[in-house]
């Protein structure tokens, strides 16, 4: 267990966020993404994926802090931010912010590219993706994310294969669900 505040200091942080991140404690050099969150310009959370175990309350608090910080950023600044012991790498695509929390030693630029790759995948899958696609088909967005990020490590670097994996499972869906649901139709729209 690692706390964000390494030394106990009275009155320092009323409820220190306790994160059980074994990787973080042991392996600072490994590429490890702690979380990836998608939120709108209004600060509405659209997608959240956590690669470290965090209590529900702390997640909420984290998301709140992050959205405020990122939304308050001025234009023409870098896409990187320090947040507690982590770094935030964020990028805005249209009305949607993509934000990753990474270790300090991580290469920020490649995380930025990771976000871009994710957006490209979404774009290819949905065809000119917009925020609504992600709202209505968020489970698909999760599936795509899972295809190339497992346990905070980038898995699949070939775009074609990632998409194929998703399409395979979509094929499964069509097979199993003879009467098409609205959900599925939306997914293929």
């Amino acid at each position: 267990m690692v706390t964000f505040a390494p030394t106990p200091m009275a009155g320092w942080f009323v409820t220190p966020v306790t994160v059980s991140c074994h990787f973080a404690a042991l392996l600072p050099e490994c590429m490890l993404i702690h979380f990836i969150v998608l939120f709108s310009r209004q600060g509405k959370l659209r997608l959240q994926k956590w690669y470290v175990a965090l209590a529900e309350r702390d997640r909420k608090k984290t998301v709140r802090e992050i959205t405020t910080m990122v939304l308050a950023r001025k234009q023409r600044t870098s896409n990187f931010l320090d947040w507690r012991e982590l770094k935030l790498v964020y990028k805005r695509y249209a009305s949607l912010f993509f934000c990753c929390g990474v270790e300090c030693q991580d290469n920020e630029l490649i995380i930025l590219e990771l976000i871009h790759r994710y957006v490209e995948l979404l774009d290819q899958y949905f065809g000119n993706v917009c925020e609504l696609d992600i709202i209505f088909n968020f489970e698909k967005a999760y599936f795509i994310l899972d295809e190339f990020l497992i346990g905070g490590e980038v898995q699949e670097t070939s775009k074609k294969r990632a998409l194929k994996a998703i399409e395979d499972s979509d094929f499964l869906q069509e097979e199993t669900e003879e009467p098409k649901t609205m959900l599925e139709e939306l997914g293929l729209a």
């Binding site: 600044t77 290469n107 898995q155 670097t157 869906q173």
Partner: protein, 1081 residues
């Protein structure tokens, strides 16, 4: 939700073909039209109850369940609690087929966490899917296994996952590798956290390696890429083994940069940037400090940098990773120049991200070669003024790496201004500790250093590093002679200044620093009177506003207990000086009184008929006579004035007099003489706190006369007025209360105070005799009445554990260590004489262990850091009146210990004086290159015969333990040993005792006593040993000095350990294992 979104929702169904909207869509539309948060909440609650009903219907329908789960996940994303439904996610994963299963797994991943109790139910599903599912199910299960496997299920799932490495489909193999990485290293880290032993993880190391090597050698590039994170973990644990892979890794990287992988793997024209970065990270781990490996890497690294020249961001990412790897490898000139060029390009780019990365890379390079920064000075200056806080922060970090003596002031100025600006406590904390680190390391002069430290300490408390102000105060005491005075002077100046502006918001560390400095080193500035300081301190402790009643309660004060203790200790130091001055003054006054009596002068004496009946109040004097007095008198007067001024200072804010009552019996504490004149005098002086500010100084005697009359009315007690409201505090905390009590009693008897805490010019820290011999009589008496002997907590614990120590053994061992202390120490006579003085003749018969009533920690009176002191004056002899044993004479131990310490110090003073300079230089050196390389040189004990005493065994310290001991200066004892006399040396010794010889000699001698040689660096040695009973470690730092002596510093967490061990070392060094040495030479 936005209006745009609402409109879009409205048109969406039409666009999608006009079919009936699904439940999720209905929910979303409803939420979009919700106008307030409350409305949204009620909608979601309604929805959740519907979902609950649907899910709880008897027959399981996967379609309905998936529908519900999707909506549930959406509600969870909105932040509503959905704990009730997690079980349905598991059910869907278990009973659904393909698509539903996938959704079920997704819901599990999103709604459960690693330690969730329901995960147990998931394990079976996972195993079934892994063993008998189709490739897609397998893929899903592997993905979940790589995120959610509970720790206890790892061992059952792992073999199945390993089997999947041989699967025919590459995406299954790839996911299996990823899952395996998670399972192996997560479970290992769990274990290593528990057992502190990461080697015993399961499966066995070699098996792990085989598995991951197989994956690394897979024909599919994505499987190979997936194995790299695992290799990174392995490389960290066992770099030597991984170095054998370097040629293969170099080959892979070369293939990648030459574009041999399929075009699919490229990202905007850059071939697999993630794979490249993983490989580069591996290289930096493996090539670190290894020339051979680095030689293999340089070439491909150069190529990689060359090929990464592209405008693409991912190319820059690879490039920056190359630079970082390069900065870790042993420097390579040509690549270094190229890297520097690239960094320049990044810094000058208009893209903020690239600037940011440029600064980061430059910081990495500056760690190796600070000169690199010089080429990019203008860009760095630009970056420092960037509006982007992230870039500014990285630039500050960069500057910290290039700090030297010349630029430290400028850099610290920047850091401080950033510190003032920042709102983020995390950033502020790191900035504060950085600033202080730099200031301590490179401070050009003491005034500047003090300024920086005071400034940081006066900031918000939560950002101040936890080791402050201890670190600063430690600097004040350990500093060398020349700089010490100016440092102390400036510290006093600065903290005096900040003591005037104390408020409730003043940070505790600053408050403590002020307290300590005022108490300990205020003598540096002679014009500061102790009275002034004590009034300052008591004002801090009890602010004027809170002095409402005569009895303030400490618990009602805003100051934390710990700071209260600091304040009281500081106060006791100052008061002791005051008492000393008073003691002198009282003697003088006594003389005057005698004179005046003899001369038949008109001096009015008021005598009180108190319980003791002996107290005299020197209450009234004719002012005219006063003015006519001789020089000797004017001295007294000066003193009185002095005090008076400060009293006025104080009373101006709170005019009430604080009185304490001293019974007649307690009045007997001090000598009769002191009673008569000392206290009498003080009654006079203290009485003045009642006096109005306007009154002339000398008028006070009149007033005091009246006062005394009033106080006379208290029958049976005598009232002594103290200047300090502090002493009337009542505290709920026993420690604080005890401090107050002690101080009160000491103050009541200035002569005792002066003896217990003599006002030496250096304000030596009083040391405590841990054996507390003055209690011997008391303990012996108790034991005679059948009390059980005291057993230290450590031994008690051992007893509980069923070890073989019985009470007798404990006594014997304790007595043994004591006898070592007494028998060989030259201070034993002092101990005895004191024991006689204390009137406890039984002390000799008392078994020693019983006297260890309190550990030294429990009796340490001073929170200030202890330090090795070289005292110059002998202690004041105890006055005869103290010899009666009383409970309050507990404090006598302090003086006893001090006398003991002084004798010991005198003994070694000879060596110490001439070595002082060299000693400090040595310490400075070793602290500077604090990372001693731990060359484990095992020297077999030269002669077994000398291995006697001991309560210690050789010990290989854990790194953590080592660090703790190294930084702990609390129980440090120092002693110097000269090499054996030249006549005693064997004639055939080739050279005169030189440094090398001494080094050998020390190693031999200490190894013979059973110490373990941890490290040798230059002329410094580190030894470790362990107490056989408690297991407490001890570190011995041995420095061979220029003058040919050996300086030893022993550090132990158990102070009990140090003395016997130091003695056995001393003995070993004075009777070295000559035969072994001779054979060698």
């Amino acid at each position: 939700m936005s209006r745009v979104f609402g409109r879009a929702l409205a048109v969406l169904p039409a666009e999608l073909g006009g079919s009936a909207p699904g439940p999720l869509h209905t929910l979303l539309s409803a939420l979009a039209s919700a106008s307030s948060r409350q409305e949204e909440e009620s909608l979601v609650r309604k929805e959740l109850s519907i979902i609950h009903q649907q899910l709880n219907t008897a027959n399981f329908n996967p379609d309905v369940a998936s529908e519900c789960l999707v909506r549930l996940i959406y509600c969870a994303t909105l932040g509503y609690p959905i704990g009730f439904c997690t079980i349905h996610a598991l059910t869907l994963a278990q009973r659904g087929s393909s698509w539903h299963k996938r959704l079920g797994y997704l819901a599990c991943c999103l709604l459960l966490h690693e330690n969730h109790e329901l995960l147990l139910l998931l394990v079976n599903t996972l195993m079934k899917d892994l063993q008998s599912g189709g490739p897609l199910e397998m893929g899903m299960a592997l993905m979940v296994a790589g995120q959610l496997t509970p720790p206890h299920a790892v061992s059952s799932i792992m073999p199945i996952v390993i089997d999947k490495l041989a699967h025919s489909r590459e995406f299954v193999r790839q996911k299996a590798v990823a899952a395996l990485t998670f399972l192996t290293f997560r479970s290992c880290s769990d274990k290593s956290l528990d057992n502190e032993n990461s080697d015993n993880c399961h499966p066995s190391n070699s098996y792990q390696r085989d598995v991951f090597l197989r994956a690394f050698g897979d024909r599919d590039p994505s499987v190979m890429a997936a194995s790299l994170p695992a290799l990174l973990h392995l490389a960290k644990r066992d770099p030597d083994w991984c170095r054998t892979l370097v040629p293969a890794l170099v080959g892979v990287l070369r293939q990648v940069i030459e574009g041999r992988l399929h075009g699919d793997f490229s990202f905007h024209g850059v071939p697999s940037p993630w794979l490249q970065i993983d490989l580069l990270r591996l290289f930096s781990l493996l090539g670190k400090g290894d020339h051979g490996t680095s030689q293999q890497i340089y070439e491909v690294l150069g190529e990689c940098m060359e090929r990464a020249r592209s405008k693409q961001m991912s190319a820059w990412a690879v490039l920056s990773e190359c630079i970082r790897t390069l900065s870790v490898l042993p420097p390579h000139l040509e690549l270094w120049t190229r890297a520097s060029d690239f960094v320049g390009e990044m810094l000058q780019s208009s893209n903020a991200n690239l600037q940011y990365m440029g600064v980061r890379c430059l910081a990495d390079m500056a760690r190796v070669e600070p000169g690199t920064v010089l080429c990019h000075r203008p860009s760095v200056m630009c970056a420092l003024e960037q509006p982007d806080p992230a870039i500014r922060r990285r630039t500050l970090e960069l500057l910290c790496r290039v700090v030297g003596q010349e630029n430290v002031e400028a850099v610290c100025g920047h850091l401080l201004s950033a510190l003032r600006d920042t709102q983020d406590p995390y950033e502020a904390r790191s900035l504060a500790s950085r600033t202080l680190d730099l200031a301590y390391r490179f401070s050009p002069n003491s005034e500047w250093l003090v300024g920086i430290v005071t400034e940081v300490l006066s900031m918000r408390e939560e950002i101040i590093p936890p080791d402050e102000p201890g670190r600063f105060l430690w600097l004040l005491v350990k500093e060398e002679e020349e700089s010490a005075e100016s440092l102390k002077f400036h510290a006093l100046q600065a903290l005096m200044a900040s003591s005037t502006a104390i408020s409730s918001r003043t940070s505790q560390p600053l408050l403590r620093a002020i307290t300590w400095v005022l108490g300990e080193i205020s003598h540096v500035q002679p014009d500061l009177s102790p009275a002034d300081i004590s009034s300052r301190l008591s004002r801090i402790l009890v602010p004027p506003a809170s002095r409402q009643g005569s009895h303030a309660r400490a618990s009602s004060l805003s100051i934390p207990i710990e700071t209260q203790a600091w304040l009281l200790t500081g106060l006791s130091k100052v008061l002791s000086r005051q008492a000393n001055e008073l003691g002198n003054a009282s003697l003088i006054t006594e003389q005057i009184r005698e004179e005046s009596k003899d001369g038949g002068q008109d001096v009015e004496m008021t005598r009180e008929a108190g319980g003791g009946g002996e107290g005299g109040s020197f209450a009234r004097k004719d002012t005219d006579h006063f003015l006519e007095k001789a020089e000797i008198f004017s001295k007294v007067d000066d003193q009185i004035k002095n005090m008076n001024a400060s009293q006025k200072n104080q009373t101006s804010s709170s005019p009430e007099v604080i009185e304490i009552k001293v019974n007649g019996s307690q009045a007997g504490l001090s000598s009769e003489e002191c009673n008569e004149s000392g206290m009498g005098e003080r009654v006079d002086i203290m009485g003045t706190s009642d006096v109005d500010q306007d009154k002339v100084c000398l008028d006070k005697y009149e007033t005091e006369a009246g006062k005394s009359e009033i106080s006379k009315e208290d029958s049976g007690t005598r009232q002594i007025k103290l200047p300090l409201p502090t002493l009337d505090l009542l505290s709920d905390d026993p420690c604080i209360q005890q401090l107050i009590d002690e101080l009160r009693r000491l103050w009541a008897s200035p002569s005792l105070f002066a003896t217990v805490l003599p006002a030496s010019p250096g304000c030596q820290t009083p040391l405590v005799d841990p054996s507390l011999p003055f209690l011997d009589g008391f303990v012996a008496e108790a034991m005679r009445k059948g009390a059980a002997p005291y057993i230290p907590p450590q031994l008690r614990q051992l007893d509980k554990q069923g070890s073989s120590y019985d009470a007798r053994e404990i006594q014997v061992s304790g007595a043994f260590s004591e006898s070592v202390g007494h028998g060989t120490s030259p201070t034993s006579t002092a101990g005895n004489s004191w024991a006689q003085e204390a009137g406890s003749d039984a002390s000799a018969d008392v078994p020693q262990p019983a006297t260890r009533v309190w550990g030294p920690e429990g009796r340490t009176r001073c929170p200030s850091p202890a330090r090795p002191t070289a005292t110059t004056s002998l202690p004041t002899p105890l006055s005869g009146s103290e010899s009666g044993s009383r409970p309050s004479s507990v404090l006598g131990a302090v003086s006893h210990e001090e006398s003991r310490e002084r004798e010991k110090d005198e003994e070694i003073q000879e060596g110490r004086k001439k070595l002082a300079a060299a000693l400090f230089a040595g310490v400075g050196n070793i602290q500077e290159h604090g990372s001693l390389s731990r060359t484990n040189r095992d020297l077999s004990p030269a002669s077994e015969s000398t291995k006697d005493v001991s309560s210690h065994t050789a010990l290989a310290l854990s790194t953590e333990e080592f660090g703790k001991l190294w930084t702990s200066a609390i129980h440090e004892t120092r002693f110097a040993v000269s090499p054996p006399d030249a006549p005693g040396l064997p004639n055939h010794l080739p050279v005169a005792p030189g440094k090398a010889w001494l080094l050998d000699f020390a190693i031999q001698a200490l190894s013979a006593v059973g110490f373990h040689n941890v490290a040798t660096a230059g002329q410094e040695l580190l030894f470790a040993a362990q107490d056989t009973k408690t297991g407490a470690p001890l570190l011995l730092h041995c420095i061979v000095l220029l003058t040919g002596d050996i300086q030893l510093c022993a550090r132990a967490k158990a102070p009990r350990l140090v003395q016997p061990m130091a003695l056995s070392v001393q003995r070993a060094l004075s009777s070295p294992p000559w035969p072994a040495l001779n054979q060698k030479s």
